[in-house]
């Protein structure tokens, strides 16, 4: 455990090395958040309540969505790809420390740095320029936090699984993009799925993506009742279990394959 904590610490320092990137990221994310806010303001102009949500809740939705996006940045797929390309897979696997544990620790370290470098500034800017994103019902906070943790794990596992495709010696640049677009558009991060036709929205509900952004955000703005949220978190947990299962299965196969072939 100590080893992994060390990795986390090193990564925090690494992530802070490039101050220009830090400020650039804040600027870019602020612009994105503000344009989104005006986008929804314009759409809602003269309309009170669309799809069961009013303009004010929608603004909260996009601010919190911007904040959450910081948690869902992963580097694990690139790390796997690099270790395969550079041929260090075998030696990494032989080490007494699990490489996936290291990648996980690195992503955690990166996120901790980003919470301070990005999340806080964006929250402050959002409060000043758009509105204070108050939670609809503060009693839902534990539920919200729990669902965010599950979301984070689902997102990380999906990234890791896409990364593992690199073990088949395929260049995964394009696949990483596919993953990004799928999550961007089908998770409700930009446009919540309740604006989609019911049939489409239902189909997408069967995929894990919705449970990354939209579920925690719905809890936050209080869309739907508690029973509904609990039911969805049930599905979220099932997805997490499924992804965990696939991950472990692939992980064991990959480890065996690498050990036998020596990379």
């Amino acid at each position: 455990m100590k080893k992994y904590l060390y990795v986390v610490k090193t990564q925090i320092i690494k992530s802070m090395t490039y101050e220009f990137n830090v400020y650039g990221n804040i600027l870019m994310q602020t612009i994105i958040m503000i344009t989104s806010a005006f986008f929804w303001k314009a759409l809602y102009a003269g309309q009170g309540n669309v799809g069961g949500v009013d303009a004010d809740s929608m603004l909260t939705y996009i601010i919190v969505s911007s904040l959450l996006s910081v948690l869902f940045l992963t580097n694990v797929e690139r790390r796997i790809q690099l270790s395969v390309q550079k041929g260090t897979v075998a030696t990494d696997m032989m080490k007494p420390i699990n490489p996936f544990g290291v990648y996980f620790a690195e992503d955690i370290g990166n996120i901790i740095a980003l919470v301070f470098q990005n999340m806080l500034p964006i929250l402050i800017i959002g409060c000043l320029l758009i509105k204070v994103p108050k939670m609809a019902d503060i009693r839902d906070l534990p539920l919200f936090l729990l669902s965010v943790v599950l979301s984070f794990l689902i997102n990380w596992l999906i990234s890791a699984l896409f990364g593992m495709i690199a073990f088949t010696a395929v260049n995964i640049d394009a696949l990483i993009q596919v993953k990004k677009h799928l999550i961007r558009l089908l998770s409700g991060s930009i446009i919540p799925l309740w604006f989609f036709p019911p049939a489409v929205s239902k189909v997408l509900g069967a995929f894990p993506f919705v449970y990354i952004y939209q579920l925690p955000l719905s809890i936050y703005i209080g869309k739907g009742d508690c029973a509904e949220h609990l039911m969805q978190m049930g599905i979220q947990s099932i997805w997490l279990a499924i992804l965990c299962g696939i991950f472990l299965f692939v992980h064991n196969r990959v480890t065996k394959k690498v050990m036998v072939q020596g990379g």
């Binding site: 490039y18 986008f39 314009a42 260049n171 394009a174 596919v178 446009i191 489409v200």
Partner: protein, 274 residues
């Protein structure tokens, strides 16, 4: 004059060879082709579906109906695709700066910016072009556009201009890495901001933002103003037949500006390994 033509011919010859090499590289890695063929169109098909759903839920967006939005979206995606083919390397300029990859361009007797973009030409950008053209044609049909030579000329002129504006912005952002000496990679964010400001009418934003997008960072000229003019949608500003040509002019100006900033940056280039 003759010397300039000769030089142009030289660049053309090199470009042809570089494109040939790009195709050879693609053939070298066939598994990549499938990936990009799925990835890029998927992004825009899903993106377009989203617009359709939003319009269905909210009605018009700021006075633009579904067909007009499709037209706008099509133009935006096509110019995006063209900028991906020629200028996407700008997103990664920081890595080239840090890794010292400009060494080789500086020791060859051609323009550095030209070599940077064209020896890394991204033929795969074509996969973005296909969904763009499909949506654009769909928008033309929905808007019952009367297609004639004059219309086509305006579309082509404005696409060239839009591509140059996008390219100029990528170069400006990329060139900052000469000064910061960091591998700046804002590609993802740039793309997201571009999407938000070129796929929807910017008239939906407050006037201050419109002002910025018109005069400071001229993204409004990529799709909004020329499309408004082509479709005859009044927006109180920049209406008239010549707007597509204005887009081209602004594109050229952006490129000149970006080129100058790049050149200034190149003076501060430090190579790698010292």
């Amino acid at each position: 004059m003759k010397k300039a033509l000769c030089e142009l011919g030289h660049y053309f010859e090199v470009t042809m060879h570089v494109i040939k090499m790009a195709f050879l590289t693609i053939i070298e890695y066939p598994s990549n082709i499938a990936g990009w063929l799925i990835s890029n169109p998927l992004q825009f098909i899903v993106g377009f579906a989203t617009i359709k759903f939003v319009v269905e839920a909210f009605g018009e967006i700021n006075g633009w109906n579904y067909g007009q939005l499709a037209f706008l979206y099509g133009i935006s995606v096509i110019s995006h695709a063209l900028s991906m083919i020629f200028f996407v390397q700008g997103w990664f300029m920081g890595y080239f700066v840090i890794e010292g990859e400009f060494d080789r361009y500086l020791t060859r007797p051609l323009g550095v910016l030209y070599q940077f973009f064209f020896t890394n030409i991204n033929i795969f950008g074509i996969t973005d072009l296909i969904p763009g053209i499909l949506v654009f044609v769909y928008g033309c049909v929905k808007c019952q556009v009367h297609v004639n030579a004059w219309f086509l000329l305006q579309v082509i002129v404005m696409l060239i201009g839009a591509t140059l504006i996008r390219g100029g912005i990528y170069i400006l952002i990329g060139s900052t890495s000469f000064h910061t000496r960091n591998a700046v990679d804002f590609g993802q964010y740039t793309q997201e901001i571009m999407d938000k400001t070129t796929m929807y009418p910017i008239s939906m934003y407050p006037e201050s933002i419109q002002f910025i997008l018109t005069f400071l960072i001229p993204i409004g000229w990529v799709s909004f103003y020329p499309v408004s003019s082509l479709l005859g949608i009044g927006n109180g500003f920049a209406n008239g037949l010549l707007v597509p040509f204005l887009t081209l002019l602004i594109g050229i100006l952006m490129m000149l500006l970006a080129g100058a900033y790049f050149k200034a940056g190149l003076k501060k280039y430090e190579s790698a390994g010292n």
